[in-house]
Subunit: 404 residues, 2 copies
């Protein structure tokens, strides 16, 4: 059995054969020179799988990307920030198509080998003249993942990128990833932009299955504000350059591949939650003893999504009644007389009865950068963890001034 | 056909035979002398129906109140604010029972003729010694509805009370109501405290049906913050003193009774939404042309509940993309190419394509105290309206400092 290790300064170009780059196309604010147009590509054609927003109003770029991802093969991803190309009518489809064609030219690929993702304001058309000009300056390099990540950020305050490597006597492979998202984030499939790469050789079926499993314990377990964007896209490209024994659902490597992918996805998901708009801390809700996994996840997500709890945590207020109130409306089976609740490591409710606790200690526990809350339902053996952030005045400030 | 008219200074004691009163029991803050313990009663025994929180963790007071309301007859309601008596274990049941017994003594009723409701902090036991003392000073009077309302307020900034009277040649009856709630408010059955009274003679079956119908178009169509409290209670008492022809589902008066009750409930529901914690304005979302009523309501409620939209409205930002984003995730059938959206009266999206609009005019429309948003799905004939409020820094301030 080999070892999974984090790669120093790991990013989406850490796996073999991937390169990336970014330029400023002045999409959002003219003249700010911010990187906002980016390209990620593989020297070899990749097996690709994707997960997309479940919002019934999907951006034209998402519609195009879904169609191309369904073909199962791709070589590159073009992405931009500042304009989501969502709710943009017929023009939006034409622009998405042209943007992918321009990107294909940059790397000499076929247009249908290029996937696309845009993030930013809804209801505004892409500034195509500026994009055409900027695309000519776009070039890729092996260390370009860092620039790629910076170019897809919107209200994000920190880049979110990571890579892990697995090694044993026979095989070695790397999985890298970048993500953006700090608003319109809520438990749902692919609620942000996430781009994952690997040099592992993986069957299309297992690539899909592993991505679904990883999303279920990571990106589907975070919430910033309960909104789901029309642009959410998660893509996973595998180019096979590691020349490992092909990973299938039955192969010896399957377990470790899933484990490595989960590490990458949980790292990125927590980074998104921690960087929630206006957030000052990460909230981690652990639900234990649930009747089944579905209910454990439902309960954890509902608690971490409660505006009232999020505001209380911001104020370092050990108001655990907001935990039980959210739990009770989550839809998960709850028996009050069996319920234990911990704020930080402090037991505040035991078998449904309040436990006197040292309020000063509880306030100190809530003042940490990471605040764990644990709920023990004592009904079964299922567990789940969800992540979110506190709700602050700054969230309101950011979101009341977004387009004006 | 007669007329429904608002009663000047109408409240829960406007219908014949009801009286109420309130005192300070210093439940929340010692020595502030704020009214916080209240009693409402009828001189005759009433037919009573109730709707209660769907939260799986119900307060002991709700559990007791549900049991008594199910008997179908009651004479009084004792209510308090400052402590919800929720998540209080066995002691909570004993306290709820004692509180109802003390109230029964005040008016010479049987304990099981007294209903109970408490609102306030969760997880703290009722201060029974203070309540015992205060209960001795509690008296009721015909104009006491106003004091009753003030005593049940928590973070509410304004009292919410109303009454309407119906008169025709033969019959006259009055319906009055009070409500509290400005946090933990979300579409769900009975998401706050609402007490309704009438002197009309109504069959128990029709009283229940009319209450359910009225709740569906009023209290179930408002949202402040997506949370549902363990204490939500809605009670409707009818004492029959108007001596009208008994209202049944088939009687001539049924339509006008429902209409009058809807007026009372919509008035109170809008008052709650407008007084949402930290709110500066009322948002009204009208969904038209939905495939069916269920989806119309779902769509309207989802849009009015979006944190991102609520923050944008606060900032007078006509960011209509947040309307379509919420609509798309609502679960209601939506076809982007058929969709029209109006911010105020300004058309911003027509058949899925953005319409250029005068931004200054849109900002002015959003600066009003009441902001209507209209979504036309063009898929059918169903309509629904939901109400909510903007999300402000003040919401965060209020909710980060609640128990500390």
């Amino acid at each position: 059995m080999g070892k999974i290790e984090f790669v120093t300064n790991g990013t989406v170009t850490s796996p073999q054969g991937f390169s990336a780059g970014a330029v400023s196309a002045d999409i959002r604010h003219k003249g700010d020179n911010r990187l906002d147009l980016a390209l990620l590509c593989s020297q070899e054609i990749c097996t690709v799988v994707g997960l997309f927003t479940e919002n019934k109003i999907k951006s034209p770029s998402v519609v195009l990307c879904m169609k191309r991802a369904q073909q199962g093969k791709a070589k590159a991803i073009v992405a931009s920030s500042g304009c989501a190309n969502a709710s943009t009518g017929e023009q939006g489809f034409a622009d998405a198509l042209e943007m992918s064609m321009l990107a294909a030219k940059v790397i000499g690929a076929k247009p249908d080998e290029v996937l696309i993702a845009n993030t930013g304001v809804i209801g505004v058309n892409l500034p195509m003249p500026a994009i055409r000009t900027a695309m000519k300056k776009l070039a890729v390099k092996p260390e370009g993942g860092h620039d790629f990540e910076r170019a897809i950020m919107t209200t994000d305050t920190v880049p979110k990128e990571v890579a892990v490597t697995y090694k044993d006597g026979l095989d070695t492979f790397t999985i890298g990833g970048v993500a953006k998202g700090s608003g319109m984030i809520h438990p749902n499939l692919a609620t942000m932009l996430v781009f994952l790469t690997t040099d592992a050789d993986v069957t299309p079926a297992y690539l899909k299955k592993s991505l679904q499993e990883a999303a279920a314990v990571s990106f589907n377990m975070i919430s910033v504000d309960g909104d789901t964007s029309p642009s959410d896209t998660m893509l996973f490209m595998a180019n096979g350059l590691a020349k490992n024994e092909t990973v299938t659902g039955k192969s010896a490597l399957a377990g470790v591949f899933q484990q490595a992918l989960n590490q990458v996805c949980i790292y990125l998901a927590k980074a998104i939650a921690r960087d929630g708009e206006g957030a000052t801390k990460l909230i981690e809700v652990n639900v234990k003893g649930a009747a089944n996994l579905k209910e454990a996840r439902l309960a954890a997500r509902t608690v971490v999504s409660s505006n009232l709890l999020k505001a209380a945590i911001y104020g370092n207020d050990p108001n655990w009644g907001r935990v039980t109130a959210a739990l009770g409306r989550s839809g998960a089976q709850v028996e009050e007389s069996k319920l234990d609740v911990y704020m930080g490591k402090i037991l505040v409710l035991k078998q449904g009865t309040p436990v006197p606790f040292d309020k000063a200690k509880a306030v100190t526990a809530l003042k940490q950068k990471e605040v764990p809350i644990t709920v023990v339902l004592n009904l079964g053996k299922a567990e789940a963890t969800a992540w979110g952030c506190d709700l602050t005045e700054q969230y309101v400030v950011i979101n009341s001034e977004y387009t004006t």
